[in-house]
Symmetry: C2
Subunit: 230 residues, 2 copies
DNA sequence: TAGTGGTCTAGACCACTCA
DNA sequence: GAGTGGTCTAGACCACTAT
């Protein structure tokens, strides 16, 4: 292909920015000028600049032109993986065990999150994720039974709750928080660590449309880390 | 505008996928067919589908066509913010204090990370980040002085080390890990918490081109959380 | 080999926003 | 008001890959 690709343009511009050829906050040439320089259509330059804008490298404004970002933001993307995949990625054999399963009235903090009435019951599950039969993570989860009625029929002996939910309600939204907590007595017991150990906690709530599906706390065993590139 | 926008197409297709009109893994119509259905150019459909592919909703293959993703991945994007911004976002007043600053031989774990010779010195800094004069986070950092020579002249009385580095080396790459640790004696002391408290640790290393810039451990005080949308 | 997505072009009009 | 990016079109050729 003779034509100049948007990838090459993006890379070239990125190098100029990184090398300091353009200062932070400085206006860079407009699309038409760059198109002329690269000898390509404006559309192609547009695509390259749009990519840089999505990455937070430049800021674009109509009439205002395109500027190098003043305070480049650093973003880390974490995939929220299925625990099974995390375990298998380490080369270990994955297994999970439902420790507790009952239908009961959730505490207020949960019933508000799941948008349940004060007297409505929800499904409560505790599960232990094992890597080579050693505790890897402990999960405490509430499910809104109205959102996924068929869950009553599922045993979860071959598939984890999370994987089942992903398949049943594949494109839900949600929010998530990461934090550090000291293991209380129960969790220390489940994960076979001493009480007070620092554990990595992922707290996640998901919903689809207006209907809340599940909220869970996932306690990873000691030493667990989330990695990412910047 | 009469023309159908790529955003509307993206939304429409997303609704069909979410509603289950197309199964997981199912082949969806090709670009030309969709263009005809929406009465627009193929380019426009292409842009909508490309967006869905970037979001991990569909998978596209030449000749293979476009399919709904089998196992939709969940991604969480975290901005790695400047601590000052984190503090100010809570409404508190930010201040930081350099607790320690010296040039010395780093431990091997650091000198390998920074690609330093065994006998080379590096700049070591400890800093405390305060929110309304209460400890918010404690930072232990090594800087490769060869990568940023002017750092010797900087006092860091008005600007934090991180902000200074971002301005000096704006578009560096890096990696980062999140984990949970029990506070050791020194850190507990610095953050004014009891020893053994669970702390959220961000461990980050950045470089530019081939040259390593800095590696740091940032211990957030108890109760700190990272939030994100899924 | 044939079918699909990937990309580029040249031109057009629009929408926003700065001065 | 004028300059910039935002987007759409219609057409073309290419690159990959499933069959």
């Amino acid at each position: 292909m003779n034509a100049i690709s948007h990838k090459i343009i993006r890379e070239t511009l990125l190098e100029r920015i990184q090398s300091g050829e353009w200062e932070l906050g400085e206006l860079i040439p407009n699309e038409e000028e760059l198109a002329e320089e690269f000898g390509c259509a404006r559309t192609t330059v547009n695509r390259a600049l749009r990519a840089l804008a999505e990455e937070g490298i430049v800021i674009r404004k109509r009439k205002g032109g395109t500027r190098v970002c003043e305070l480049p933001k650093r973003e880390a993307k974490f995939e929220i993986p299925i625990v099974r995949q995390q375990v298998e990625a380490t080369g270990a054999v994955y297994r999970h065990k439902i420790v507790c399963r009952e239908s009961k009235k959730p505490p207020i903090s949960v019933s508000t999150r799941l948008h349940l009435g004060a007297d409505e019951k929800a499904l409560y599950l505790e599960a232990l994720h094992l890597a080579d039969e050693r505790p890897f993570a402990f999960e405490m989860r509430w499910v809104n039974p109205a959102a996924v009625p068929h869950i009553e029929e599922e045993k979860f002996d071959t598939i984890s709750v999370n994987e089942w939910l992903i398949k049943s309600v594949p494109f839900s939204s949600g929010d998530v928080s990461f934090s550090a907590v000291n293991a209380d007595c129960d969790i220390a017991d489940a994960l076979d660590v001493t009480e007070g150990s620092a554990l990595f906690l992922v707290d996640r709530t998901t919903w689809y449309d207006q209907s809340f599906i599940t909220t869970l706390k996932l306690y990873y065993n000691q030493g667990f880390k989330f990695y990412s590139k910047l």
